[in-house]
């Protein structure tokens, strides 16, 4: 019997297959944060239940925490209450919390991998849709709602219908000017925002194997933007190299045992997928979104598309609505679009490698007059490591704001917002209407394009500066 990577990870977590419905799946790691957990703890306590495995549960603060003056009390009373509630819940249930100000605090999907908590073959869940990020390690990782958070707290399991398995095979080699972000935007453009619904995607092929762990996380992170339940990549030497020596990685003889197991985590030769999509890496170009969903992107060399030439009436209508919201005219060259704000950060592109790429571009240059530019590291550790390399100086000397770690302007809950009608080049993952603040206009790009755009004032690649 041939099996796919997804089946292998799934099968080893099936606790029971009840006759009345979906399988009961064991959860190896449950990550929690302040925004989607309070109602879950409340439900748990009202029912008189306990957290079954506090030792498999890890909490952090990221979504509505400030990124400046983090030593001061949080000014927003609602955010302060929410953060206090998390503190109380973690203390009451014995859960490890990486609080604001601590060395391991950060965006939940950045800290899991960085601590070595995310390992091949695991199941990882979190009350956050970008939990798919952890699939980069060959883990089955997916986002859940608050009622399910409560379910995992109480039982360390979830009832889950097994999704279909989709293969996204990326052959060839990415052009030098392109990054994992450009690749995943190309994949989503191919799939459509709902194309992956009901599926877990396995990313494979030469261009995927060639990616660093950071790049793989960027790709898996955005699986949800293609509608997929999760995305995963078979672990290999790149994965093992990243994990070796991290705080929670196995050590000594246990490391060897783990490695033997992890090497079996690959799709068997000849195993068939429920659906398959092919993408040519060589055709990928630096991508910029023009619309209000992540599938609406073009190459930076292109122009704003004309809705009239799109396929179905529904697509035309959606594109027309998007262009109206974005304040764009069909036929405008992407490079001629000026921005007000540049945001570098988020669980998609807030890791050290992303900051290095952006710093390299802005080094010795200046942010264009009138552009507000922010760098928000994905975690406190990323921030510290970037400072150790002097990246912060390149940013601040160029005129960027250098912030503390968190989600920040990715979802604009903490006061870091894009103003109404303002245009932002963002390394985050969602360009939905109002995502970065009411009336704000988001264009998703890679860190390199974001940095070049900050300098040029309009969409640009580093090569053109």
């Amino acid at each position: 019997m041939t099996a796919r990577l997804f089946d292998k990870v799934w099968d080893r977590h099936v606790v029971a297959t009840p006759a009345d419905g979906p399988a009961l799946l064991y959860i190896d790691l449950h990550l929690i944060h302040e925004v989607t957990s309070p109602q879950a703890f409340e439900g748990l306590e009202l029912a008189g239940r306990k957290v079954r495995r506090p030792d498999l549960t890890v909490a952090t603060m990221d979504h509505d925490t400030p990124t400046i003056a983090i030593d001061k009390p949080i000014a927003d009373p609602l955010a302060a209450t929410q953060v206090d509630r998390l503190r109380r819940n973690c203390a009451a249930h014995g859960i490890t919390l990486h609080a604001l100000g601590s060395r391991e605090q950060g965006i939940v999907h950045v800290i899991g991998p960085q601590l070595g908590l995310t390992q091949p073959g695991m199941t990882v869940v979190c009350g956050d849709s970008h939990t798919s990020t952890h699939g980069a390690f060959g883990a089955l990782a997916f986002g859940i709602g608050t009622t399910q958070v409560e379910h995992v707290l109480a039982t360390q399991t979830l009832r889950q219908v097994k999704p279909a398995a989709m293969a996204v095979t990326v052959q060839g080699e990415l052009p030098a000017a392109c990054t994992a972000k450009d690749l995943v935007l190309a994949i989503i453009r191919t799939l459509g925002v709902g194309g992956g619904a009901g599926s877990v995607i396995e990313y494979r092929g030469a261009a995927i194997s060639a990616l660093s762990m950071e790049g793989r996380m960027t790709v898996c992170n955005m699986s949800i933007e293609g509608g997929a339940r999760a995305g995963l990549i078979a672990p290999d030497d790149t994965t093992f190299g990243y994990l070796e020596g991290r705080a929670h990685s196995p050590k000594g003889a246990m490391w060897e045992r783990a490695l033997d197991d992890w090497r079996t985590l690959a799709t068997d030769e000849g195993a068939a997928f429920d659906s398959e999509v092919f993408v040519d890496a060589a055709a990928v170009r630096p991508a910029v979104t023009w619309g209000t969903n992540p599938a609406q992107s073009v190459s930076i060399d292109d122009t704003v598309p004309d809705p009239a030439v799109l396929g179905t009436p529904a697509e035309r209508q959606a594109a027309q609505r998007a262009l109206t919201y974005m304040g764009l005219t069909p036929g405008t060259p992407i490079r001629d679009i000026f921005v007000d704000t540049v945001f570098i950060g988020s669980c998609t592109n807030g890791r050290l490698e992303d900051l290095r790429a952006a710093a390299e571009v802005v080094r010795g240059r200046k942010v264009h007059q009138g552009v507000r530019a922010l760098v928000v590291p994905g975690s406190a550790r990323v921030r510290a490591e970037a400072e150790a390399e002097g990246l912060d100086r390149h940013f601040t000397e160029a005129g960027f704001e250098w912030r503390y770690a968190g989600c920040s302007m990715c979802l604009a809950m903490n006061g870091d917002t894009v103003g109404p009608g303002q245009r932002c080049a963002s390394t985050s993952n969602r360009n939905f209407e109002g995502r970065q603040g009411p009336g704000g206009r988001t264009h998703l790009v890679s860190p390199a394009v974001a940095a070049a755009t900050a300098v040029a004032g309009h969409f640009s690649t580093p090569g053109e500066l």
């Binding site: 606790v15 029971a16 009840p18 419905g21 009961l24 064991y26 190896d28 790691l29 925004v35 989607t36 109602q39 506090p54 030792d55 498999l56 549960t57 927003d76 209450t81 509630r85 973690c90 203390a91 009451a92 014995g94 859960i95 490890t96 070595g116 908590l117 695991m122 956050d128 849709s129 939990t131 997916f142 859940i144 709602g145 608050t146 009622t147 399910q148 409560e150 379910h151 109480a154 360390q156 399991t157 999704p163 925002v193 709902g194 619904a197 949800i224 509608g227 339940r229 196995p250 246990m254 783990a258 969903n293 529904a314 959606a318 979802l411 809950m413 969602r430 939905f432 209407e433 995502r435």
Partner: protein
């Protein structure tokens, strides 16, 4: 959770595709630590337009929302479901839901009734012609109907989800029936899997 078998009432149609959870409830509202109080948050930005369907007379009485494909894409926020419920909706009828949204809806007792694209168009057209038409979402029969327009279409809903909605069952209670299996599974987990030593519980 309340048992849901037959939902009867008026409906509102928002026939747009890919309605994301940031539209259903903007992030600023997620700072609340309660499960209720989200009625004003629902489609907050779109409701600023006086012509938006939810601003039409009688919309506040509606029980059913009819929408376009891939409803609820984006974030995992269950607040999107709570906001729909706080406004008064008990079912959303659409040709397709995002996976996490569908799961959250079933968890919280909002019926995600998946119909064909043609059926959704037919329902939206009938509502455009008669906004006061009575719509019935029958969970037991898995049908959506508007008798006055002679429409009766089937919808898709997995058996387990249907049963849970009909019985108003709490998932945790069901799962805890498997306590023995969970405990025995835990004895066989790989020894290298990470554990994070908990801080002392108060």
């Amino acid at each position: 959770m309340q048992k849901l078998s037959k939902i009867t009432g008026t409906a509102v149609a928002v026939p747009r595709s890919d309605i994301d959870t940031d539209q259903i409830i903007p992030a600023a509202w997620l700072k609340r630590v309660e499960r209720t109080g989200f009625a004003d948050a629902l489609f907050e930005a779109w409701r600023k337009d006086p012509g938006f369907p939810l601003n039409q007379p009688g919309a506040d009485q509606a029980r059913v929302l009819v929408a376009g494909p891939n409803f609820g894409c984006g974030s995992s926020r269950e607040h999107a479901v709570w906001a729909l419920q706080d406004f008064g909706f008990q079912a959303v009828v659409a040709p397709g839901f995002a996976d996490i949204f569908r799961g959250n809806a079933i968890s919280a007792g909002l019926v995600p009734a998946q119909v064909t694209a043609a059926a959704a168009d037919q329902l939206a057209d009938a509502l455009a012609a008669d906004p006061a038409a009575q719509v019935v979402v029958d969970v037991a029969e898995r049908t959506v109907s508007i008798a006055s327009a002679r429409i009766a279409v089937p919808f898709e809903l997995a058996d387990f989800a249907q049963w849970r909605l009909l019985e108003g069952l709490d998932d945790i209670g069901l799962t805890l029936r498997h306590e023995q299996e969970i405990s025995s599974f835990e004895t066989q987990r790989a020894p290298w899997l990470p554990v994070v030593m908990p801080t002392a519980a108060n």
